[in-house]
């Protein structure tokens, strides 16, 4: 019916023509990994970048705590019974000597807050890393194998999730006695299950994807499918969750220390300081305010940063080829 055009058409397309060449203009970001793409997006996010700077400063201060102490001239546990307390034996307000005031034992709050950041970061990061490592492995294994393996692991995850954290933590600490190690382990023990649940959920859906079936049809082993095909695809939510789990762990540590069940005194911890302030804040607002602010700023910075990371990994905004239905999403 339309033979005419075809006949006088010298450049009739070859069937095996590289149609990829036409795309050159659109694919300038060639070969960038999803991680790089997310980072590029994150860098445009001002709030996240400010938070990152704040986090960096906190980390640097924590690392430089001994330096700060020697500059100020007060150790974290040094008690200045004369200079650091009022004649009535109460904490002293901020002065040139103690820029954030002193606590009820005449210790320099500023130095103690700097030292406290070490505990917060250490517990926050360490327990998160342990939780994520355990959670990812259990989540992938449960989700991938399914069946009885999944049933058992999923029950385990649910059980751990349904234990009230604080109550159980208190119970464990009351038996073992408080220490830094116990704090890290207790927090990690109650955090891995939520990571595992998220990863398992992801793997359950990824397992049904055609590319996993494709790998199977090529004869790939279970281990290869789990770690070469599936793991990279759960990385994004795991990274997001990791950044959000750190502040949660920091708060958990502070709460335990506040209840006297975290890192035992005299080690400086923010929670411990706030516990100490309970009897003094009516006469010494700084005792409550500065450790509280330090804690709040740290968790806020991590949460804002984590929120930015989540946005950066949001698949809804990194599509290269927006089809009609996808542009629909963009509008909303």
């Amino acid at each position: 019916m339309t033979t005419d055009l075809a006949k006088h058409d010298p450049a009739a397309p070859e069937p095996i023509v590289p149609d990829a060449l036409e795309l050159e203009g659109e694919s300038r970001i060639e070969g960038r990994t999803p991680l790089q793409l997310a980072w590029a997006k994150l860098r445009r996010d001002k709030v996240a970048m400010v938070s990152l700077v704040v986090i960096a400063i906190i980390i640097i201060l924590a690392l430089a705590a001994p330096l700060v102490a020697s500059l100020v001239g007060h150790g974290p546990d040094d008690q200045y019974r004369q200079a650091g307390l009022t004649p009535a034996g109460l904490p002293k307000p901020p002065t040139g000597q103690f820029i954030m005031g002193t606590d009820d034992l005449g210790r320099d709050l500023f130095v103690r807050i700097i030292y406290g950041s070490r505990i917060s970061l250490l517990v926050g990061v360490l327990s998160t890393l342990i939780a994520v490592a355990v959670g990812v492995v259990i989540g992938i294994v449960a989700g991938y194998f399914g069946g009885i393996v999944d049933t058992v692991l999923a029950r385990l995850i649910d059980t751990v999730l349904s234990i009230p954290f604080l109550l159980a933590a208190i119970a464990i600490v009351s038996i073992s006695g408080p220490s830094l190690t116990v704090t890290v382990i207790v927090i990690a023990f109650f955090s891995w299950s939520s990571v595992a649940r998220i990863v398992r959920g992801q793997v359950l859906s990824i397992r049904e994807r055609e590319y996993v079936e494709a790998a199977r049809s090529l004869g790939a082993s279970d281990r290869r499918i789990m770690f070469v095909d599936i793991l990279p695809n759960v990385l994004a939510p795991v990274i997001v969750y990791t950044t959000l789990l750190i502040p949660i762990s920091i708060v958990s540590e502070a709460t335990l220390s506040f209840l006297g069940l975290g890192v035992p005194p005299p080690t400086a911890t923010w929670g411990g300081m706030l516990d100490g302030s309970l009897n003094y804040y009516r006469v010494a607002y700084w005792y409550l305010l500065f450790p509280g602010l330090a804690l709040l700023i740290t968790t806020l910075a991590f949460n804002l940063f984590g929120d930015g990371v989540r946005d950066a990994f949001d698949p809804r905004s990194d599509r290269l080829f927006a089809t009609e239905s996808e542009t629909e999403d963009e509008k909303k």
Binding site: M1, T2, E26, T327, K331
Partner: protein
């Protein structure tokens, strides 16, 4: 004056990757009792164009003119548009399962539609109408099925429910956006039949959006071919299939594995253009075997003589289309 008229419609969206110019100067119209087919591949802007008219593309930048029965649609205030949606323009979509609310009974959803526009209608009266509607679209035992949830219906039956709902207030225009794409061919035939019957009975104008030229050949009176957010060709059905002018229309038809033709197909080389940085001239120019220098600037919209409102946005001589007709006859 046509019932629904769209003139020089432009729609764009801001996205993180840049501004997507989904529709760039589209015009079409449809009359009472007639079916306009809008054909195009994914990303051609065909759905965006129709959804914009009824104000369903929120957050889009829109310009142009659209009128229904003389009443202005673009730029109308949200309340006016809301009264038009459903009452005067009914819509059905591609996937009837995801388009019906999974938590509500189908009867509830139809009754809601009726009562949203006719405040005075009692619940029982609306329910009786819903039963009649389900019956009209060929759902067996509608009196019991009205209390079923969408997931208790098959794909074809769900789409019938959607049609019943869209037709509930006897709208002047029915916009069917890929209504049969998710359905099997035998079911597609049933659903198209239902639409045809309703049109005959109520004189509804239908805008049928599809990528399937076969559906268009079956249903449409007039056809608009879209590509890269623009109209490439517009013609009466037979003109479009037997006397088309635009190389894109030709390419589409040649790509089809039509019955009886074995061996090699003649596809269109290349891929559709980016809608963020569309080609400055004719969007089809990068893939067109007839591309000329001036195609890179702007294609003309020429009227093809020979009866009917046949236009084509292409620089090629008009005789091409006429010659094809001579050979065909």
């Amino acid at each position: 004056m046509p019932l629904l008229e769209v003139d020089d419609l432009h729609v764009s969206f801001g996205t993180p990757d840049g501004v997507v110019r989904a529709v760039r100067g589209v015009s079409f119209s449809v009359d009472r009792g007639r079916t306009l087919g809008i054909v195009g591949e994914s990303g051609s802007g065909k759905s965006v164009a129709t959804q914009t008219i009824v104000g369903l593309t929120r957050g889009a930048r829109v310009s142009g003119r659209a009128t229904l029965d003389g009443e202005n649609l673009l730029g109308a205030d949200p309340d006016t548009l809301r009264r038009i949606r459903g009452a005067k323009i009914g819509m059905i979509f591609q996937d009837p399962l995801s388009s019906l609310h999974p938590y509500y009974k189908v009867g509830w959803q139809i009754v809601e539609m009726i009562r949203a526009h006719e405040r005075g209608t009692s619940k029982s009266a609306a329910r009786q109408r819903a039963v009649d509607l389900l019956d009209a679209v060929g759902i067996p035992s509608p009196r019991t099925r009205i209390d079923n949830y969408p997931h208790e219906f098959s794909g074809g039956m769900r789409q019938r429910v959607m049609i019943a709902m869209a037709m509930a207030l006897n709208p002047a225009v029915l916009v069917a956006d890929e209504p049969t794409t998710a359905l099997d061919v035998t079911v597609q035939a049933q659903v198209l039949d239902v639409m045809r019957d309703l049109q005959r009975e109520f004189g509804t104008a239908i805008i049928l959006i599809t990528h399937d030229l076969g559906v268009v050949a079956d249903m449409a009176d007039e056809v608009v071919v879209m590509y890269g957010g623009q109209v490439m060709e517009r013609a009466e059905r037979r003109d479009l299939f037997y006397r088309h002018h635009h190389p894109y229309t030709e390419g589409l038809l040649n790509s089809l594995p039509t019955s009886g033709r074995r061996g090699k197909l003649t596809p269109i080389a290349g891929t559709p253009p980016s809608m963020i940085t569309p080609p400055p001239g004719c969007p089809f120019e990068p893939r067109c075997v007839h591309a000329m220098d001036r195609c890179r600037e702007k294609p003309p919209t020429v009227e093809i003589p020979g009866g009917g409102p046949h236009t084509s946005a292409c620089w090629l001589p008009v005789e091409r289309a006429q010659r094809t007709k001579a050979e065909a006859s």
